[in-house]
């Protein structure tokens, strides 16, 4: 995750860590110093208050003695009031001491003083009562010496012991405060050491991380600059080759321009010839239409010939029927002639002349029969010829039909040819127009190629500048590598 941090983030993180440690040290120091100061103030205040209260306690005792002496001497009640005020002050001092004293021995001394104070007040009251009753001074002195002075001495000794105890407690609290201040000092010192170590570790970490990343980046810059140098060399070489190719392209485009003009001229001639062909195809279409009409007339004539031939076949068949009749007659004649010859033969000599006639009749019938047979053969030949002619005519009619259909196809083809020729004409014109546009475009391309050649030369110069910049960048990357890593060689290698 830290690899994705930027240099600013890493440095900021280091400074933030050191700042946090510093703040912690300051807070701890401030807290420790406050505790020490508060402890000292509390010790001083309590010790001072306790010592003052002890002194006030002695003072109150002295005020009671003073009020008692005043009353004894003047017998005025004002001293009684002073006596009560002194007692009130002693009572308040004892209450404060009960709250301020922390050591048990001192509390016990305060209790003993408070009990002795009661005895002391009783002794003072006894002196007052005696004074008020008129007792003599000597008696009053004796009474004070018996009732008040021993208690006072004991109280003083207790106050002295209490003062000693308070001083002992103060010494003890001072030592505690000193130890607390020492602990705070030790803690602050430890935190300071920790902060220093942390700062040192962060510095080492950031130094290594930055050195590693910057080194890697410098290496990348080095390799990239080397590649850029190589690319710049290649670019320069390519620019030179491109310049040469541009010159060749310019020459080729010039030739292409001349060829395009020739194509435009050819397309114009093609359009002209296509127009002439279109007219010729339309004439051919009309000729085909007339030929189709002629073929249809031939078809009608062929149909008529077929009809006539069929009629002829029917007539020849009728002739055949007539021949059958003639043949039958000749046969019957022949039979009659034979029977006549038979009868003539049976008649003997008388029938010979009749036999001659019958014989001639029979011969005539034979000749008729032979002629009839020959006529039948001719009629059969005629019928066969008619049939053949009819079949041929039908074949011719079919051929005429096929020819008619083919002429229809030819007509369709001619029309299609006409349409295609029109399309060809339009296409040729479009080719002519397109070729002219192409020539114009080629001229523009030629101009563009010239510009490209100029740009190529500029690019060649730019490639040289890029090569120089890449070399400088390589040098700078070496210097940066040496700045980042002291152990880098003079070439910036790690």
């Amino acid at each position: 995750m830290t690899r994705s941090w930027t240099f600013g983030q890493k440095i900021g993180f280091g400074f933030a860590a050191i700042l946090a440690l510093t703040i912690v040290i300051c807070v701890v120091t401030y807290q420790a110093m406050g505790d020490v100061v508060e402890t000292k103030d509390r010790v001083i205040e309590r010790i001072a208050g306790s010592l003052v209260d002890v002194e006030r306690l002695s003072s109150g005792l002295n005020q009671q003695i003073a009020a008692m002496r005043g009353y004894v001497l003047s017998r005025e009640d004002e001293y009684a009031s002073e006596l009560r005020e002194a007692r009130t002050a002693i009572s308040q001092v004892l209450e404060r001491l009960a709250q301020s004293l922390t050591v048990d021995s001192n509390q016990r001394l305060r209790g003993q003083i408070q009990k002795l104070e009661v005895d002391y007040e009783s002794g003072v009251d006894a002196v007052f009562s005696a004074a008020r009753s008129g007792t003599t001074t000597s008696e009053l002195v004796a009474l004070r010496r018996d009732k008040v002075t021993p208690v006072r001495r004991e109280i003083d000794s207790k106050i002295t012991a209490l003062t000693t105890g308070i001083m002992t407690a103060v010494q003890k609290e001072r030592e505690d405060s000193t130890r607390m201040a020492d602990r705070a000092s030790t803690l602050v010192l430890g935190l300071a050491v920790l902060s220093a170590l942390t700062a040192l570790a962060l510095a080492v970490f950031l130094t290594r991380a930055l050195a590693t990343q910057i080194g890697s980046a410098v290496q990348h810059v080095q390799s990239s600059s080397a590649e850029l140098q190589t690319a710049a060399n290649q670019q320069a070489t390519g620019a030179r080759e491109q310049s040469t190719a541009m010159a060749e392209i310019s020459t080729t485009i010039s030739e292409l321009l001349a060829t395009g003009r020739q194509i435009a001229e050819s397309a114009r001639r093609v359009a002209q010839i296509a127009g002439e062909t279109s007219g010729a195809s339309r004439d051919g279409d009309q000729i085909v239409v007339r030929a189709r009409d002629s073929i249809e007339g031939i078809k009608r004539q062929v149909d008529l010939i077929t009809t006539h031939m069929l009629d002829l076949g029917g007539k020849s068949q009728q002739i055949g029927g007539i021949l059958d009749v003639i043949n039958e007659l000749s046969e019957q004649t022949n039979i009659l002639a034979i029977n006549a010859s038979i009868e003539a033969a049976g008649a003997g000599e008388a029938g010979k002349r009749f036999a001659v006639v019958a014989d001639e009749i029979r011969k005539l019938a034979d000749r008729v029969g032979g002629s009839t047979k020959e006529i039948r053969r001719l009629i059969d030949e005629v019928r066969a010829a008619v049939n053949t002619t009819v079949m041929a005519t039908e074949g011719g009619a079919k051929a005429v039909d096929a020819g008619t259909r083919q002429f229809a196809d030819v007509t369709t083809s001619f029309r299609r040819i006409t349409d295609l020729v029109v399309t060809t004409t339009e296409a040729a014109r479009e080719i002519e127009l397109s070729t002219k546009q192409q020539a114009s475009a080629v001229e523009q391309v030629s101009t563009g190629v010239g510009n490209v050649a100029q740009a190529t030369a500029e690019m060649e110069t730019s490639a040289a500048q890029t090569l120089q910049t890449a070399t400088q960048l390589t040098r700078l990357s070496h210097d940066l590598a040496r700045l980042v890593r002291a152990d880098a060689d003079p070439h910036g290698n790690w």
Partner: protein, 221 residues
């Protein structure tokens, strides 16, 4: 067409000339003896009958009460024969078949008897000539009939009439393998024909009828 017309014109002149020559031709010489025969075709064999034995010739048709008789067309071989001999070709036409004489079959124990035929008010028995000669043929093919007989007419049916033959004396020779009704051969135009003795056939039939009056006698009546 013109040549054909010329040919037919010449044919008409030839016919006229031949017809006129028949009147101009002199009668036969006194010593010349001519014999007439009828050429018959039976079971694809050539036969002949003497015209002197024949009492008549007619076309017939066998009427079996089922169908009209078929008239067999002439074979090309017979046609050539007739053409070669200059004879007519009878029987080509079927248009006069309805006018043929009808031979009505009658019950008989003789298979040669085809039936009877009415002729000038008399019934004439008609026999199958091929069956009488012992030839195997189809009786329904008989379409010609020759009449013979002295007292009673008898008809002999055969298939084809192949022509009228007139020969000089000496054309009839004895048959090498004679049968009871074919004992001679007729030589004519380079070929021979078996000469059928119709009188012998009639005599044998009459004898057979005399032995069995229930058939031929009834038929004769």
């Amino acid at each position: 067409m013109n040549s054909s017309e010329g040919g037919w014109t010449g044919r008409a002149a030839e016919l006229r000339r031949t017809f006129d020559d028949s009147f101009a031709r002199p009668a036969s010489a006194a010593g010349e003896r001519l014999e007439d025969f009828l050429a018959l075709g039976i079971a694809r064999q050539a036969y002949a009958v003497g015209l002197s034995d024949v009492r008549g010739l007619m076309r017939i048709r066998l009427d079996n009460g089922l169908a009209a008789p078929s008239v067999e067309p002439h074979s090309p071989a017979n046609d050539r024969y007739l053409q070669r001999n200059g004879h007519s070709q009878p029987g080509e036409s079927s248009g006069a078949a309805a006018e043929l004489r009808s031979v009505v079959r009658v019950p008989s124990s003789r298979r040669e008897l085809l039936g009877v035929c009415g002729l000038r008010g008399a019934l004439v028995p008609v026999f199958d000539l091929a069956a009488l000669l012992g030839l195997e043929t189809d009786t329904s093919s008989a379409s010609w009939c020759v009449l013979a007989g002295a007292n009673h007419l008898v008809g002999f049916a055969f298939e084809r009439l192949e022509g009228y033959v007139r020969t000089q004396d000496g054309s009839v020779v004895p048959a090498p393998a004679a049968s009871h009704c074919v004992t001679q051969l007729l030589r004519h135009d380079g070929g021979t024909r078996s000469l059928i003795a119709l009188r012998t056939l009639v005599s044998s039939l009459e004898r057979a009828a005399a032995g069995r009056p229930d058939e031929t006698g009834e038929a004769s009546r």
